[in-house]
Point group: C2
Chain length 124, copies 2
C-alpha cells in the first residue's frame, strides 16, 4: 500500500496540490520541517501545507530509496533563486498512510531562504 501512497505523494508535491498531499497523511501525522526543531502536528497541517508548497519552485524528485517501513524521496528544487537539494523521509502506518514526514535540505543558503519564505508564508 505504501507504493501507492508514495506515488500519490510525489505527484501531488510536484504539482503543488495541497489536497492531494494531505490525502496521503494519517490523521496524527508529524511534520519535521527542515527549518525548525519543533514539528508541525495534526490539524494545523491543513493550513500549513498549502503555504509550504508555495515556497518551493520547480520541485522534482530524482531518486527513491527503500528502508524498513519507510521510503526516502530525493528532490531538487529552487527557493527563490537558490538551488536546493533535499530528501523526504516517510514512514507509513498499516493503512499505508504517511505518519511522519522529515525533510532535510542543503546547502545552508537554501535552508536560510526556506526559513525566511516559510515565515512569510505562515504569516499571511
Amino acid at each position: 500500500m505504501s507504493e501507492k501512497t508514495t506515488a500519490a505523494f510525489r505527484k501531488a508535491v510536484e504539482a503543488g496540490d495541497a489536497e492531494g498531499v494531505l490525502a496521503t497523511f494519517a490523521a496524527d501525522v508529524t511534520f519535521n520541517n527542515p527549518v525548525t526543531f519543533r514539528p508541525f502536528e495534526g490539524e494545523v497541517l491543513t493550513s500549513v501545507v498549502p503555504r509550504l508548497l508555495e515556497v518551493w519552485q520547480d520541485l522534482h524528485y530524482t531518486a527513491e530509496l527503500q528502508g524498513d517501513g519507510f521510503v526516502g524521496l530525493v528532490f531538487e528544487a529552487r527557493v527563490g533563486h537558490r538551488y536546493a537539494n533535499g530528501i523526504d523521509l516517510l514512514p507509513f502506518n498499516d493503512e499505508g498512510l504517511i505518519t511522519e514526514i522529515t525533510v532535510k535540505v542543503r546547502p545552508l543558503t537554501a535552508l536560510q531562504a526556506l526559513g525566511e519564505e516559510m515565515q512569510a508564508a505562515l504569516a499571511r
Copy 2:
C-alpha cells in the same frame, strides 16, 4: 561489495576514524557537504575529513535505506549543544567504493552551527 563499504563507513564515522572513512572513498570522490553549495573534491579530502569529523558529537546512525546503486544512512548527532538529524547519501563504483557523499542536516540551527564549526575547523 557496497554492503561491506557501508558497514566500514558507518563504523569509521561513528568512531571519528578519519583514515577508516577515507579508505571507503574512491580516488575521485565528491563531497557535497551540508553547508556549502560548492563540493570538496579529491585530494583535499585527506585534510578536510579529519577536521569535519571533529565537528560532530555523539554521531550515531539510526536507519539505512537502499536505492538503485546507492544507500542512505540516517543519523542523529550534536553540533555543540544543538541537536542535529541528518542523512548521508552514498553511491558506489564497481569496486564498491564511495564515489560521492551528499549530507543533509536539519534543523536550521544545527546547520548554522555546523557552518560555523566547519569554518573554524578548516581555518586551523
